[in-house]
């Protein structure tokens, strides 16, 4: 594993500079049904292809950002600082 992740602030850097935060998922409302919470906590889409993910630039600007990454080629399609926690 030696691909590059593109930080919206610092540019393309080695993946070892980052912490992976998992797929971007919408957090259910506090009193949403149990099934919805269970799905949120335990299930992953695990796309073979393009998916939106959280990344933290640990050895750089120390900011969380979202990246649209192709999980097959490991290419960062786009990355940005999100406006709201989703």
């Amino acid at each position: 594993m030696s691909f590059l992740v593109r930080c919206p602030q610092c540019g393309a850097r080695s993946v070892y500079e980052f912490r992976f935060g998992g797929e971007v998922k919408r957090r259910p409302a506090p009193d949403a049904p149990e099934a919805e919470w269970t799905h949120y906590i335990y299930n992953r889409a695990n796309e073979a292809g393009v998916q939106k993910e959280w990344w933290f630039h640990r050895s750089g600007c120390r900011q969380w950002f979202q990246a649209v990454r192709n999980t097959v080629t490991n290419e960062t399609v786009e990355s940005f600082f999100p406006d709201e926690t989703t």
Partner: protein
């Protein structure tokens, strides 16, 4: 012969060998008369120089303690120690060569067939273990110097410094790019160094490249892997005398593979005899080292490949007995060294056989990058195609100017017990035929069953011949048979190079040298060094010292360095909102000057961390985390801030602040000598916090009780660490203050049943199981873990963290098994001998129904079971009266 002034001497098998500058270990040994360089893996057949290009297994030796070194790629150094491998007593006379007469006992895959009965294996194991493998791993003492890792970048990385690579370097450099050229030979030039090349003059090319300031040349370095994102792994041997190898991580925007082609052997019986060499090896000996490797040669090969080789041999004074076509060779003759070649109609005596072998594009890096390969019969090679983005190839590696050396698949029957396809593992063409007959007729299963292409040469010598045999035997084309996969590292890399330098980063607290002076015995906690205990007197044992420290805290006063705690400074209007969200308790209603304990959970209700939250002012909080979780907690808080627009600024002050915990009945008496702050319980109650000077240094004072006594946690600027520590020790002198270490702290807190997250809890623990339900505010509108914790709150627990006391005077180990009725029921997480109880006490995971006062369980101690009694009570000061005094 050169004069003594430029003679380099080294030691081979105890004897001194003279070498010339520019020699490799292999060329120097050959010049000194050595002909057998190794014994083969299985049959212990004598093997001599074959490729002289670092592509075959024949010259592997032990150099300065490192096994399996390619001696033909290793420049001589004065005083180096070289020994042979895999032969006893000597290369010339190896008793184990008797094995080849028992080859009928070792058919292909014999270990799968014979070692199926454990009794057979156990009988054979001692012998097999001793003779199997190649080379002996070095002991740490054998390795001198330090391995290194280094990191580099380039616009263009060119692998291979032959004519194609140099031309590419010149044109890329002309376009203003930063270029790195990596070549595994001591000088640039590739095959131009030992063969004639029309249309280019080598000195000119090299001079042009060396004049370019934006071209960096790595000579004598080999590239072993092309990884994602154009990351190249490069080994740089002996970049300085004290560094055996440096591993370079080179990241390039583009990679140009200019690795050329190498030669691989032809198939005929006894093709492994000493003196049977590849034509490029013979040319290297003649032109690079001035060595004439024979008097009378037979050239095996096709026109027009043979003509330039013949001309060079003649020019070197070697007579040519015959030039024969590969297909006409019946066998090579000779005991160890070749003495003749027999063809279908003649026998040619000789002392050197020169094979004009298959020319193989050295395309391992392209294969690793994802290229596919297409068979080209005219070139006699698999040609790389579909190169990955950002990777290109130039020169012979693309198939340029290659010609087939022999027909593939072979036209004639190639079965033969001594026709070696794989030199590394002694696999003959007969073995391949047998394996295919047994059903291993796919090139990938054939590879795994016979281990062809899996030895030290990684298939360089054997891959194409093996594909040829497989294609012929299965009536398929070369294309349909396909190639096996090349994976990094290729060539092999030492573990030393991968491991890198033998040192660990160390973090020392600001008071480190105070502890050292006080006799600290150290404990490594992650990167931190912390005092485990202090050796109070020469010869004092750990148990005795820890008990002295324990008594100081319980009876007088003690001082512990807690600078390793994570320390976060949070400022802003909305800090309370953030803390309410990430902690399971409530903090927005915390009054300035107060401290509250906090538990942090994830969305599944699992305990992530705990710590204290102190409100220093309306918009200013100070948070501590456990030592190991700081980075996680910092990132976790920042994550939940994303997109909220909340006014929160988080600063990590962990390294910027020192911290101590002053605790014991006399703690107040000590501290009040150094501060004007009113320390009375009325003015400064338990769980309060203040900003006040101590010993003239501004500090955050928090009245906490982790060890169960009146005490203050004091945080202050790191640079004042030693001063404040010394002032506290001096002020405590009349109370016989003692610094205490981790061991005493763990014992003290265990008597209070304080849980350490990550020690007593694990990645599946929720706060109800550890009895921390009191720290949760489940009625909060929202926080991380709310949904899961509310659900868990209504469910019966399966297991609980319970206290226990041993019935007898034994001390179980942390992690010991808890047994109930002879069945495994749980485990101990922490246990120490409590001076208070006179017995071992501890915390353990037990089934929830057992977690009640007086229940009996068994604990595994020293291989037997010892009775313990569960207790729900806190062992020491259950009401916490001492904390509030």
């Amino acid at each position: 012969m050169s004069g003594p002034a430029d003679t380099i001497t080294f030691v081979f098998n105890g004897k001194t060998v003279n070498a010339r500058p520019g020699d490799t270990v292999a060329s120097a040994l050959y010049r000194a008369g050595q002909r057998i360089f190794s014994r083969s893996f299985k049959y212990h057949r004598p093997r001599g120089l074959l490729c002289l290009a670092g592509k075959c297994p024949n010259c592997l030796m032990n150099v300065d303690g490192a096994p399996n070194v390619r001696t033909c790629m290793t420049p001589v150094r004065a005083g180096m120690r070289v020994t042979h491998q895999n032969a006893y007593p000597s290369l010339e006379r190896d008793y184990l060569s008797v094995v080849q007469h028992f080859d009928w006992l070792m058919p292909v895959g014999w270990y799968y067939k014979t070692m199926t009965d454990p009794r057979v294996w156990h009988a054979a194991e001692p012998f097999v273990r001793r003779i199997a493998g190649l080379g002996t791993p070095p002991s740490p003492a054998d390795i001198s110097g330090n391995y290194e890792h280094a990191y580099s970048h380039a616009d263009v990385a060119i692998i291979g410094g032959g004519p194609a690579g140099l031309a590419a370097a010149i044109s890329e450099a002309a376009n203003g790019r930063e270029v790195a050229v990596v070549d595994d030979q001591p000088e640039l030039g590739g095959h131009l160094r030992y063969s004639n090349f029309e249309g280019a003059s080598l000195p000119d090319l090299v001079a042009q490249v060396q004049a370019l300031s934006n071209v960096h040349v790595w000579k004598g370095c080999y590239c072993f892997g092309l990884y994602e994102g154009n990351l190249l792994g490069i080994v740089q041997p002996r970049c300085d005398p004290k560094t055996p190898e440096r591993l370079m991580h080179l990241r390039a925007a583009r990679v140009v593979v200019a690795t050329g082609a190498y030669e691989s052997p032809l198939l005929f019986p006894n093709n492994d005899l000493v003196g049977v060499m590849l034509s490029t090896a013979v040319l290297r000996l003649i032109h690079l080292h001035g060595i004439i490797p024979g008097k009378l040669a037979v050239i095996i090969g096709r026109s027009p490949l043979t003509e330039p080789v013949a001309a060079d041999l003649r020019a070197a004074g070697i007579r040519i007995a015959a030039t024969v076509a590969p297909e006409s060779v019946v066998r090579a003759v000779g005991k160890a060294h070749v003495t003749a070649i027999e063809t279908s109609d003649a026998r040619h005596a000789c002392d050197l056989v020169v094979m004009c072998g298959h020319r193989i594009p050295d395309a391992g890096l392209l294969h690793q990058g994802g290229a596919s390969f297409e068979w080209n019969a005219a070139k006699g090679a698999f040609i790389p195609a579909d190169l990955p983005a950002g990777v290109s190839a130039v020169g012979e590696v693309t198939g340029d100017s290659l010609r087939a050396a022999a027909t593939l698949p072979p036209e004639r029957d190639l079965a033969g017990k001594r026709t070696f396809v794989c030199l590394c593992s002694d696999v003959s063409s007969q073995d391949l035929v047998n394996a295919i007959d047994e059903g291993f007729d796919h090139i990938e299963t054939l590879k795994r069953y016979t281990t062809t292409t899996m030895g030290p040469c990684q298939g360089r010598m054997c891959q194409l011949p093996a594909i040829g045999v497989c294609a012929r035997q299965t009536n398929r084309s070369m294309e349909d048979t396909g190639v096996t996969t090349s994976r990094p590292p290729n060539p092999g890399v030492t573990l030393g190079a991968l491991a890198g330098a033998r040192h660990h980063p160390t973090r020392r607290t600001p008071m480190h040298y105070e502890h050292e002076a006080a006799g600290a015995v150290w404990l490594d906690m992650g990167e931190w060094k912390r005092p485990r205990y202090y050796q109070s007197a020469k010869g004092a044992g750990e148990r005795q010292c820890v008990e002295q420290e324990y008594r100081a805290v319980r009876e007088r006063v003690g001082l512990i360095d807690v600078s390793t705690l994570g320390k976060l400074d949070l400022k802003g209007r909305d800090v309370g909102k953030l803390l309410d969200k990430v902690y399971a308790g409530r903090f927005s209603d915390l009054r300035p000057g107060r401290t509250r304990y906090g538990v942090m959970c994830d969305e599944a209700g699992i305990m992530l961390d705990d710590g204290t939250v102190s409100r220093l002012a309306d918009d200013h909080f100070f948070v501590t985390t456990t030592t190991g979780n700081l980075d996680f907690v910092f990132q976790w808080m920042k994550w939940w801030l994303v997109g909220t627009g909340w006014d929160v600024y988080i600063t990590n002050l962990t390294s910027g602040l020192a911290a101590v915990n002053l605790a014991g009945p006399q703690a107040r008496e000590v501290l009040k000598q150094l501060t004007d702050c009113d320390l009375s319980t009325a003015a400064f109650p338990y769980m309060a916090c203040r900003i006040a000077p101590v010993a003239g240094v501004e500090t955050i004072l928090m009245r906490l009780g982790f060890v169960g006594e009146t005490g203050w946690e004091i945080h202050f600027l790191a640079e004042s660490g030693p001063d404040v520590w010394k002032a506290l020790v001096a002020a405590g002198g009349k109370f016989d203050i003692r610094p205490f270490g981790i061991e005493a702290q763990r014992l003290l807190r265990l008597e209070k049943r304080h849980v350490i997250v990550g020690v007593d809890s694990d990645a599946l623990t929720n706060p109800f199981e550890t009895g921390m339900g009191w720290a949760l505010k489940l009625d909060k509108e929202d926080f991380i873990g709310r949904s899961a914790l509310r659900r868990l709150a209504g469910q019966p627990l399966h297991q609980k963290l319970a206290g226990f006391v041993m019935d007898e005077a034994v001390l179980p180990e942390d992690g010991a098994a808890i047994m109930i009725g002879g069945r495994l029921a749980g485990r101990v997480t922490s246990t120490r001998v409590s001076p208070l109880q006179g017995r071992a006490i501890g915390l353990a995971w037990v089934p929830a129904e057992v977690a009640r006062d007086g229940a009996e369980v068994d604990v595994r101690v020293d291989g037997r079971l010892a009775r313990a009694r569960i207790t729900e009570k806190v062992f020491y000061d259950p009401d916490g009266a001492r904390l509030r005094m």
